[in-house]
């Protein structure tokens, strides 16, 4: 019995008992669809996170300092020297001095976060200015009370109309507004637009803490970023003498870690969804057993006409595999459609992958074959006269 013949036969019997075939397939359909949906959503999510992080710059190295240091701490001058001495590793750097403040313009006020940086920050973080300018060397050097405000702040305090002589009061001190940033996140509260940049030197004074806990350093060459990180760690170790006092990490490392996390989360989710595939397989086995009993006479006729065990075995296995493969195809289509619908309803990026589709199809065929084997074996072992006499 050749494969093509068995396949046609299987499709035929599926067509003649549509309801039964559909119910048999349902487990596989649900299992495959949920696997596809989960993989699409997790793929989309991980892509979104990765691209967001990439926008922030893969050549950025983040330095966090926790320890106060015994006698001395790593200061602005130290970082400046490290960067200047290693032009093959680093191009520029900026401190990040963050503080929560209240910003006022007359009677209007908002609570926001202020970030103290230097003149390189604009380039490192690709900050775009809508009007005016970003912070400059003189601002930092002379501890000027100037600020660059995000579009949310401009909207809230100035109704969007900021003039050259506009000022704001940050925790009571007056700062000149020298620039307004381009909108990046729909000017919503707590978004990237809800921020005020001031010179870091001014910021340390504002926060009353002269230690800088956070830096961003731009690497000269992304492919050499691990060596650059090592260099920074060495320098920090010289100051703190304890590797737990600081942490140096790059965006590309972070992306890698995040990808690992998302992929292990999706493995778990897919594993759970996979359980329904097993349940679906048992459903197929059940129906195949019924089908073998119902078709005992047919099996007897086939054997009388000269069908060998293998021919009967392969006929029933192919039938089971065809049923579950059909369920798999329906599940794939359903899964992609539902993932896209869910993506557009929930405003999420979804990305069905061709690999997921191929694996889902392969797995559903394999399930049919594995769970079809037992009933098929039962059919193949029937004795021809017993089968022929069966009523």
């Amino acid at each position: 019995m050749n494969v093509k013949q068995s396949l046609l036969m299987a499709l035929k019997s599926m067509k003649t008992s549509k309801m039964r075939s559909f119910l048999t397939m349902l487990g596989i359909v649900i299992g495959v669809a949920s696997v596809i949906i989960l993989i699409s959503i997790m793929n989309g999510l991980s892509d979104q996170i990765t691209s967001n992080l990439k926008n922030a710059g893969t050549d950025n190295i983040t330095v966090n300092v926790f320890g106060r240091g015994g006698n001395r701490s790593f200061q602005y001058d130290d970082m400046e020297r490290v960067v200047a001495e290693n032009p093959t590793f680093f191009t520029s750097f900026s401190p990040n001095v963050n503080a929560s403040v209240t910003v006022k313009n007359g009677t209007k006020s908002v609570s926001t976060s202020v970030r103290g940086t230097n003149e390189y920050y604009q380039d490192i973080q690709s900050v775009e200015v809508e009007a005016g300018r970003f912070l400059e060397f003189v601002d930092v050097e002379r501890l000027q009370k100037v600020c660059v405000i995000g579009s949310y702040i401009a909207e809230e305090l100035f109704d969007g109309s900021v003039y050259e002589d506009s000022t704001v009061k940050i925790n009571g001190s007056t700062y000149a507004v020298v620039g307004v940033l381009k909108e990046t996140a729909k000017s919503e509260e707590a978004s990237a637009d809800d921020i005020v940049y001031i010179p870091y030197s001014t910021a340390t004074r504002l926060s009353g803490n002269s230690n800088i806990g956070n830096w961003v350093v731009k690497a000269a060459d992304v492919s050499n970023i691990d060596a650059a990180i090592t260099e920074l760690r060495d320098k920090l170790y010289l100051v703190y003498g304890d590797s737990s006092s600081y942490r140096v990490s790059s965006m590309s490392q972070l992306i890698e870690t995040l990808n690992e996390i998302t992929s292990s989360i999706s493995m778990v989710l897919v594993g759970i969804a996979g359980i329904s595939l097993v349940v679906g397989g048992i459903g197929i086995m059940n129906i195949m057993l019924v089908s073998v009993t119902e078709r005992t006479r047919e099996i007897g006729i086939r054997k009388a006409l000269g069908a060998r065990r293998r021919a009967i075995l392969s006929q029933f296995i192919i039938e089971a595999a065809t049923t579950s493969a059909a369920g798999g195809i329906i599940g794939i289509i359903l899964g992609i459609v539902l993932a896209l619908v869910a993506g557009s309803l929930l405003d999420m990026a979804v990305k069905p992958s061709i690999n997921a589709v191929l694996i889902a199809f392969g797995v559903s065929v394999a399930i049919g074959m594995v769970f079809g084997y037992f009933p098929a074996g039962k059919a193949a072992k029937l004795h021809p006269i017993d089968a022929l006499r069966y009523e």
Binding site: M1, R302, R308
Partner: protein, 226 residues
Amino acid sequence: MIQLIDIYKIYPMGDEEVHALDGISLDIKEREFVAIIGQSGSGKSTCMNIIGCLDVPTSGSYLLNGQDVSAMSDDQQAHFRNKTVGFVFQQYNLIQKLTAYENVELPLIYRGVHERDRREVVMEALEKVGIADKHKNLPNQLSGGQQQRVSIARALAGKPSLILADEPTGALDSRTGAEMLDFLQQLNGEGHTLVLITHDMNVASRAKRVVSLSDGRIVEDKEVRH
């Protein structure tokens, strides 16, 4: 061609044993037309199953075309049936989901005949039984006589040397039954060995030789003159 030598077929039934065949020896030569006749329970069905390689005897040996069938494995028997025996059953035993054409095609598929070579053989067999125009019909779209024709075509398609007919007229009205017997007789005339199993003396009387079975033994074996 067929040589049954001291065949016993014993079934256990509870504590007792039932001797369905109780020491049967029978020689059937090529091109013979033999009717095996007996009441139900006489052992004629068991006899047919053994002649058709559907079953093996408990003891004794069965040579078909010189080969000992009783020692063969399931698959070897299947292969042998496929090559040598054409069955015509009382209940036609057509597969209901398959068309007339596909039913006749089955023995050729199991023999491994290529698709393009099958078509010719199948249509030839269907033409021979006069039902080629209905090759696309399913069995339930055919009358009893037509279904029996399909099953004869199926038996013929494999060009077996032996045709084994088990009550071929049992489910047919007398006129159609007679037609069917005419046809089987014609096949015998063309060189097929024909073994007919029946309980009906009128049917058996068409044969050239009648073997009567009773309680698992041969009680009479005579030539019939026409």
